[in-house]
Subunit: 337 residues, 4 copies
C-alpha cells in the first residue's frame, strides 16, 4: 500500500507536518557507492522555494541514511533514511480542519479512514515526493553502472509547448492566483531489450501505474500516444532494420521503445499529464464536514503548475521501475547464480 | 506475471494456437450464482467474426468451468476454466516463423525468451482477452450484488467522435487494408467512496495499469484528462455541495470520481487509447531473425480498429480492478469478521 | 491464496469431485524439455491405489498440458494443465453432508465460506496434491539442469524408525481401522550457497511454510531440529574447514545446510511431521451442522498413514521452493541480463 | 524481502552497529490509541541486560514514532519509527572481520552479497528483533480491541521443562561459556473461527513461516505436534460438541485451534524451537575468509539460551500474523464496505 516495486522496493512513511518523512529501499544491489552529492543534487532539483515559479516552502531536505551502507558502499541490506520536517507552518492550515477543499483528498480521506491529518495535506502532501526522489536517486546509481539514463522535462503547460511561452504562462497564472495543467515527457536511454512481462505486467503498464501514482498525475501515454490516434497502422508501425553494426533496430520509434509489453532496446519515451494544482489563491465555494456551505481562499504556499516540480519525481519513479524490471527480468531467461 | 489483482485475482494461460486458453479466478466471494448466460453474453460481445468490422475468426468461445462452483453457486474456492481453441489456421502463420513483424512482439519475445510460439501471436494474441472477459464477467456478478455497473463504449476512431463517422472511417481503413487508432471511454457507476490507496496504489493508478496491460493500449487518462491540460484550477476544481438528501456530492466531475487516489462516490470516468493494429494487409518492409531484409503482407485475419473489440475487455479489466479494491478496501477501516 | 511462490509460481484449482483439478505454473524458464515420462512417474509415485498401504482410489492421473510448450520445449509462458477427475464415488459422501467430521475442515469451511463442497473433502481433499506434484516435477526439470536433486523418504511412523517396523505398524493400524502419525525426511543436494533472504524470507522459513501448507502437516524442523534441543552450542556449531580442493565446507551439518537463513552449499536437510489421518474406519462421535449429537464411521477410502503418500508431495513443495529462490536470488548480486 | 505480512505489514531496516534500526508498519487500522506505555513495556520484556541470564548489552530502546499518528491516535497511514543505536562496542568485533564464526551468517552473507557488515552481526543481529517487537506491540493494540491475546513462555531448556530446572540449566551452561537449545510455547486466545486460507496460506503455515523467520528458530509445530507422532487418529481427533450455550466447540484441542488451515475458535497453540546460540565463550576452530585455519573465542556479550529472549519476539510475530489474517479474512465472505 505504501510500498512501490517488487524486487527493488521503496516503502515510505510520513506526513508533511509530522516529525519526519522517510523510506526504506529494499533490494538495492550490494557494492554500489552511495554518491551523496548526487542524491542531494536530485533532492535539490525537486525542492520547492528554488524559483519564483514554485512554492516558497524552504527546507534543507537532507536525508539521514540509517542503514544498508558500510564505508560508503551499499551492502545489499535495506537502506533506511529519514528527512526531518522543519519549516512547518501548521497554523496555516487550522482554518482547513473542518472543510473539504475542492479536488483535494480531504473528503476521501475522511470517508476512508474516519480521521485525517489536515495539516498541509498530511500523507497526501507533495512533500512525500522527496522520499521518492531519494529512492529514485538510489535506483539511478544502480542504473548508472549499466549506462542507463532517465531524463524528463516539462514539455507542455496549458496549450503551450515552447519553453519561453510555458514560463510566461505559469507567471500569468500565478499572478492570477490560479493554476494550470502541464505535461512532463520522459526518455529512458540505454535500457536493454527484454524488460517487461508480456501480459499484465507490461513494462509500459508498470511505468503508467508508477506515474499515475504521483499526486495530480491524471494521464499517461507512451510512444505516439494520444496524439497518434489519427495515424494509420501503415504510418505508425515501426519497421525493423539493422544498423551499420548489424544490430537490429527500428526506423521509427512510435512504439516508444516497448513492443508487446517488452523493451526493444530503443529509447523508452512516455508522457505524464498533471492537472492544474487544486490549491489556488482565488476564493472558492465549498462545504464543511457537516455539509454546511462555506468559502475558502488558500493563504499558504502554492504551485501554479505542479508539473514543473514533478519533473524529478517522474524521473525517480521511472528509474525505480526500470531498476525493478532489471532485477525481475533476468529470471525469465534463467540466467541465475 | 500472468496474474492480475491482489485479493480478486485472475491467473491466465494459453496461446491462440495451442489446445486451449484458460484461467483461474481466485478470491471470488462465496454464495454468488454463476450466471452462465451472462458470462456467455459477455464473451459474445468480445468475439471476433460478429460483424464485418472485426476479424473473421469464428470460435464458439464456450468456457468449461472446472471448479469453485457447487450447484451453480460459487463456494469461495478458485474457479478454474478453459476455452478450447478450435479454429486454428496455423498454416496462415508459417511464413512468419522467421521474420519480425513491425510493431509486433516477435522480436521482443525472441530477445526475452530465446524461443517463441509464432502461431497467431502465441501468448501475445488478442485471443488471451477472452479469458479476461470471463474473469471480468465473474467480477461483474460480484459487483452486480452491490449495484455497481461498468460500461464502456468506443468514443473515438482516428479523429472522429461521431458514431456514424467512426464506423465509416473503420470501413474506409479496412478497405485500404490498413488500420486506425481509437479511444474507449468507460464509466463505473455506483462505486462507493473510499476505494483506493493514497500513495502508490491509487485507484486510478490501478485502473491505468490494468488498461495499459491490454494489448495495443498505449494511453490512459481519467476525469478531464489530456483534454483538460489547458484548463485552470479555478475551472477544473470540483466544488463540493450537498444534494437534496443532504449527501455530499460535487457540482462537476473533472476529478473523474477519484480524489487523492480514492473514489469519492461520483462516477468513475476514464479513457483508454488503442493504437492502430500492427497487422495490416499492406506490404511492409521488415527483417528476418538473422537481420536479412524482407517484406511481408498479412494474409490472416485482422482488425482495422482494435479499439472496437477492446470495449468489453476494458470493462472486464475495470470490473476486476473495482472488485479487487472492494475486497482490499474494507481493511483500512478495520470492518472485519 | 491458491498461489504458491513468487517468481516460480503454481496456482491451483479444483475439488476432488468436480470435473477436474488443475494448475498454472508461471515462471518456468524457457528452453527446458518437458519430460512427460518423468512427470508421469512423479504422479505415479503419489497416486493412491498403488499398494495396500494407501487408499484404493484408482485414477490414471494423466495431466493434459494446455500451454507454454512448443514442440516439447517450454517457452517461458505459463504452463496450464488439467487432470480430469474420473473415479468419483460422490454417493460415498452423502451421509457427510450435514455433519462435521472430527479434525477435518468441514466446520471451518462452513464458518469461513458459509457453503462447502462436502464431496470427498472438496478443496481440502488430498487429491489437490496431484497438482502440486506436477508443479514439483516441472521445478525438478529446471533443477535437474543445475544438478540439484530433492529426495524425501518416510523416516518415522508412530515411534518406529526402522522400515520393516514402520510398514508393520501401518498394517496393524490399518487392520484396526485407525491411523497413525509419521515423519518425512527430505534432503536437497547440490543447492548453491547464497539462496534465501536474511530476515523474514529465510530459506528454511520458506521451506517450513511450504511443508506446513501440505494437508495434515503439523510440524517442521531442519538440521538438528527438535531432537537437538538438548545439545550445547559447542556441540551443535558447525566448524568451517576447507576440503581437499580448498573449497569451504563444514565438518558437521547440524545447520541443515542453511545459516542465517541462507544456504551454505551443504545438503539441505529438513523434516515434516504428519498427524494421523483424520478419516478412520472406527465409529466416532460428532455433531451435525445444527449442533445435534451424532456418530459417524467412515466408509470411503482412507490412508492409515498419510505421511507415506506425502513423500512425493514433500519433494514437490521443496523443489518449487528451491526453484523460486534460484530465480529470486540472483537479484541480490545484481547479476542480471 | 525485509517486509513481513500482506495487509498488516512490517518493513524493517538497520544493523546493530549503524546509526539506528527502525521499521514501517503499514495497514494499521485508523482510530486506535497509540499506547506508548504498552509499547515500551513490550520492548522492556525483550531487552537484553535485564537479568544475568541474558547478554549485558544495555540500551534504552526507546522508539521515536515519526508518522501515522495524530493526537495519539492512528490515522491509517504508515507508522514509521526508529530506535537509535547507542551502546556500540564496535571494537569488540574487529577481530571477527576476516573470519567465519561457526554456525553464524558470516559465510553465507559473504557468498550472497560479496560484502558484509561484520560489526555485531550486522543485519543478522538479534537487535533487529526490537523492531519486530514494536510491530508486534502495534498489532497487539489492534487485537486488544477484539479481545484477542497472544502469550508465550519458555517451556523447555535442553531437556528440562520445569521452570526452576530450566533456570538452573541456563546458569550452568552460562558458567561453562556455552549455550543450550530451548522451546517457546505460545497460545493465542480469542481468535475468531475462519482465519486462514485452505491451501498454501494455511494459518499455521503462516505462523510457522513467521516463527522460522526469527533468528535461531529451527523448528515449529502446533497442536499435538512432534510429540503426538505416536498417537492414533482415534486418539488425536478432536470430537465436536456443543457447550452450555449451544456453541460448537471441541472436547480436546490436538488440532491446536486450526483445522484445514483455518482457525476453529479454540485456542491456537504452537511451539517454536530455538537452537543453542552460536556465539559461545569457548575456544572454537574456524577459518578465515581465505580458508586459513584459525581459532576464535567470543569476548563480546552472549545469550546462553536465546529462546529465553525470544519469548516476546514469538508473541510479536504471532500477533502480526493474526492481525494480518484478520485483515485478509474478511474478504472471503465479501463482508465489505
Amino acid at each position: 500500500m505504501n510500498t512501490f516495486g517488487t524486487l527493488f522496493r521503496l516503502t515510505t512513511f510520513g506526513e508533511s507536518h509530522g516529525p519526519a518523512i522517510g523510506g526504506v529501499v529494499d533490494g538495492m544491489p550490494a557494492g554500489i557507492t552511495l554518491d551523496l552529492d548526487f542524491i542531494l543534487s536530485e533532492l535539490q532539483r525537486r525542492r520547492p522555494g528554488k524559483s519564483d515559479l514554485t512554492t516558497s516552502r524552504n527546507e534543507p531536505d537532507t536525508p539521514e541514511f540509517l542503514s544498508g551502507v558500510l564505508d560508503g558502499v551499499t551492502t545489499g541490506t535495506p537502506i533506511g533514511f529519514i528527512i526531518r520536517n522543519r519549516d512547518q507552518r501548521s497554523a496555516d492550515y487550522d482554518s482547513l480542519k473542518d472543510l473539504y477543499r475542492p479536488s483535494h483528498a480531504d473528503y476521501t480521506y475522511d470517508i476512508k479512514y474516519g480521521i485525517r491529518d489536515h495539516r498541509g495535506g498530511g500523507r497526501s502532501s507533495a512533500r512525500e515526493t522527496a522520499v521518492r526522489v531519494v529512492g529514485g536517486a538510489l535506483a539511478k546509481l544502480f542504473l548508472r553502472e549499466r549506462n542507463i539514463t532517465v531524463s524528463a522535462r516539462l514539455s507542455q503547460v496549458g496549450d503551450e509547448t515552447e519553453p519561453a511561452r510555458m514560463e510566461e504562462l505559469i507567471r500569468t497564472v500565478k499572478s492570477e492566483g490560479d493554476s494550470i495543467g502541464g505535461i512532463v515527457s520522459c526518455v529512458v536511454k540505454g535500457c536493454p531489450a527484454g524488460l517487461g512481462e508480456p501480459v499484465y505486467d507490461k513494462l509500459h503498464a508498470a511505468l503508467g501505474g508508477a506515474m499515475l501514482g504521483i499526486n495530480a498525475c491524471h494521464g499517461f501515454d507512451y510512444g505516439a500516444g494520444f496524439e497518434g490516434v489519427g495515424m494509420k497502422g501503415s504510418e505508425q508501425n515501426d519497421v525493423f532494420t539493422t544498423d551499420e553494426k548489424g544490430n537490429i533496430t527500428t526506423l521509427t520509434n512510435f512504439s516508444g521503445g516497448i513492443q508487446g509489453g517488452i523493451s526493444n532496446g530503443q529509447d523508452i519515451c512516455f508522457r505524464a499529464l498533471f492537472k492544474p494544482t487544486a490549491t489556488i489563491m482565488k476564493e472558492q465555494r465549498s462545504i464543511t464536514q457537516n455539509g454546511a456551505p462555506t468559502t475558502l481562499r488558500a493563504t499558504g504556499r502554492h504551485d501554479p503548475c505542479v508539473a514543473l516540480r514533478a519533473v524529478p519525481v517522474v524521473e525517480a519513479m521511472a528509474a525505480m521501475t526500470i531498476a525493478d524490471f532489471l532485477l525481475l527480468s533476468t529470471n525469465n531467461r534463467g540466467n541465475i547464480l
